[in-house]
């Protein structure tokens, strides 16, 4: 209980670290020590937070002496602390990788002195977005991480990065404006922006207003999460950034959008009013994304498209609004953050070793660098969902939940999910066959590095080490999938129930409006939902 009072530190520590790193701007090694040390401390703290809510508690911290319906609250529950831990593990690995790259390159391409403070601010923004219990504070969290990401995206200011940065900044600003408009509308309609209070007051509005606000929030978050019709910006902007930056963006930023969608769907607008459109969108995201991936020849762009595609799985789990579906989605988010980031880190290594990230120019890497091949192979199979790995378990959970739901649309999505999984395997196998398996001479435009005899351009140990660490963490998610699934299902149960969240923020005396009371059509729905979850047990 007491431990949750430390939760503001998850945001404050990185910000303080950023300030410190900025002061040490001329001392590169001191900067590295500070930022890695601060992130490790944050990770430790977040692990403690996760342990404190492991069995399903929800605690909240009031900031600044204003009581909950007015002031800002931070809420620690299973979902938010799990996301915190996974995101910080990933950010720490990427930070170590980036320092390795900076040291090896003599800090030319990426001005590391700016990189460290900005990176820590990004982590602070992500933590803030995960922890906050206030809608406007969520907006502020988004802005912190977005502003930091603008700087990281255009690091070095080369032509392609500026071009990609323009698209990214404009799209992000537009989505933020949409989010702000939604907040203003919600405040105008209810007079509050604390999420727990909103959960009660939104239910009192008429259905039309509710749907309008609901759709506005989902569109704003949909742009950030790169859900299909709104995902066009992602493959254009991510691949040009430096490898570690792309890796952390791919892992974290879209997942913050998914996190916000989950909170909207479960806490603010429970019930299944928009489930059918969400499912359709999820299906389109999966299929269109993966078809895009098949057309690419650049590994980074290919991975960006698989990233879009796999967001569809999470939206699918969310749209089922059952404990099994949401639990599998939570597990899938944790798995996907890790795997997608490790793949982008490996691509950075491939680029270093093979001189390019285009599969038309690569070949024979498996022979040149077997370790690299292994580091690519494990997360790649994990992403495609090959049986022993966590990707398979997450997808299996989603598909089972879909079959349990049993509606024709859910079954279509199950089929779509399987097809997407196979197509992912095809896309990944294409990379494997061309970059790793064939002879360098067979490449269309082989890079000269590949034909040079001897071990040229040996990969820096720090970079390989941090990538390997993240790959091992991804495998650990498979090994400890049992307890992890337990927590994911527990968090899904708590989120769908809502009362623990609302009581922890507003006190136990508040009456939580049951979902069924919200509108008449859902009266019939809820018992059926209950029966389904009972069947699942």
């Amino acid at each position: 209980m007491n431990l949750a009072n430390l939760s503001p530190l998850a945001v404050l520590l990185p910000i303080l670290g950023a300030a410190l790193a900025f002061l040490l701007i001329r001392h590169h090694s001191a900067q590295r020590v500070v930022s890695i040390g601060i992130l490790s401390a944050t990770l430790l703290l977040e692990c403690l937070l996760l342990i404190s809510v492991w069995d399903g508690g929800t605690t909240s911290v009031t900031l600044g002496g204003w009581l909950p319906p007015w002031g800002v609250v931070l809420v620690v529950d299973q979902f938010s602390s799990l996301m915190l831990v996974v995101s910080t593990v990933v950010s720490l690995a990427v930070l170590i990788y980036a320092t390795g790259q900076g040291m090896a390159d003599g800090d030319q391409e990426a001005p590391v002195s700016i990189f460290h403070p900005t990176y820590l601010i990004l982590v602070a923004g992500v933590s803030n977005a995960f922890l906050t219990g206030d809608l406007f504070n969520l907006y502020v969290g988004f802005e912190i991480l977005l502003t930091a990401s603008y700087v990281l995206m255009t690091l070095g200011g080369t032509g392609p990065r500026i071009r990609a940065g323009v698209t990214y900044v404009v799209v992000s600003v537009v989505s933020s404006v949409l989010f702000l408009i939604a907040i203003a509308m919600i405040y105008g309609a209810t007079g509050t922006i604390t999420m727990a209070d909103l959960a009660i007051k939104l239910a009192e509005l008429d259905q039309g207003t509710q749907n309008l606000l609901h759709v506005m929030l989902l569109v704003a978050f949909g742009i950030k999460a790169a859900v299909f019709p709104l995902s066009f910006w992602l493959p254009d902007s991510y691949p040009t950034a430096p490898a570690p930056v792309t890796a952390v963006f791919a892992g974290l930023l879209t997942k913050v959008g998914v996190y916000a969608m989950v909170r909207t769907e479960t806490l603010l607008f429970p019930g299944d009013t928009l489930n059918i459109p969400l499912m359709v969108v999820a299906l389109l995201t999966m299929v269109v994304g993966i078809l895009g991936a098949l057309a690419q020849s650049d590994i980074k762009r290919l991975l960006s498209f698989t990233l879009v595609s796999h967001i569809g799985y999470m939206v699918f789990g969310l749209a089922m609004s059952s404990v099994a579906g949401l639990g599998a989605a939570v597990f899938y988010v944790a798995h996907h953050i890790t795997v997608q980031t490790s793949l982008f880190l490996v691509t950075g290594l491939i680029e270093r070793r093979g001189g390019s990230s285009s599969i038309d120019r690569l070949g024979g890497l498996a022979k040149l660098s077997p370790l690299l091949a292994l580091l690519f192979f494990i997360p790649a199979m994990n992403l495609a969902g090959i049986p022993p790995f966590s990707g398979f378990l997450g997808k299996l959970g989603l598909l089972q939940a879909g079959v349990e739901l049993g509606t024709p649309l859910a079954i279509t999505l199950v089929v779509g999910g399987v097809v997407t999984s196979l197509l992912t395997l095809l896309a990944i196998a294409r990379v494997w066959n061309r970059a790793f398996w064939r002879k360098p001479e067979d490449a269309e435009y082989p890079d000269p590095v590949l034909k040079t005899p001897g071990n040229v351009g040996v990969l820096p140990r720090t970079m390989v080490g941090s990538t390997a660490g993240l790959v091992v963490f991804g495998v650990a998610l498979t090994v400890f999938a049992g307890p992890l699934f337990k927590v994911a299902d527990g968090s899904a149960g708590i989120m769908l129930d809502r009362s623990a969240y609302i009581h922890s923020v507003l006190g136990d005396s508040v009456v939580v409006p049951p979902v069924a009371q919200k509108d008449e059509s859902q009266n019939d729905q809820t018992p059926a939902d209950d029966a389904r979850t009972a069947d699942a047990k």
Partner: protein
């Protein structure tokens, strides 16, 4: 909650102009559009606070109904600061684009253009491979295939560098 009609009309006009401007290809106009959108949203937040009232400083004699709502103003201050930072950053980017490319226009993604131009015919997958009837191959077909002009294009790296230095 009373609503100020002037504010609403101003807000609508700002949104309309902002949306028109962000659809332009010139970066400066896009930036102006984003600023108008941000300001229109600030007015929207202000109007959610209801009628203008007394400054929200607590005194015992004042009827709570006569205060104006302080929360929207706090939100607006935050959003002004944020849009200020983003505007400054956008100006930096626009200047950088001008320095690099001497133009103020959004450029197409090179890789997108390349993928769009790629013919649906893929030499490796779709070429008609001469049916091998004998057990022993006479000519290695692979090297001849690769020289096909329609399937080849200038390598990636070259185009990227060209774009960067242009």
């Amino acid at each position: 909650m009373s609503i100020n009609l002037t504010l609403l009309i101003v807000m609508g006009v700002l949104y309309a102009c902002g949306i028109y401007l962000i659809l332009e290809r010139s970066l400066t106009r896009v930036l102006l559009g984003l600023m108008l959108l941000a300001n229109a949203t600030n007015i929207l937040i202000l109007s959610t606070g209801g009628y203008a009232g007394l400054a929200p400083l607590f005194s015992k004699e004042t009827n709570p109904e006569t205060y104006s709502d302080p929360l929207p103003q706090a939100l607006i201050l935050t959003s002004i600061v944020i849009s200020f930072a983003v505007t400054a950053f956008m100006l930096g980017i626009i200047y950088r684009t001008w320095v690099l490319a001497r133009q103020d226009e959004i450029q197409d993604d090179l890789e997108d253009v390349r993928v769009a131009k790629t013919p649906s015919f893929d030499a490796e997958d779709d070429a008609i491979v001469p049916l091998e009837t004998s057990e022993f191959a006479v000519t290695p077909a692979s090297s001849a295939d690769r020289e096909k002009p329609d399937a080849t294009e200038t390598p990636n790296k070259a185009t990227t560098q060209e774009g960067g230095s242009a």
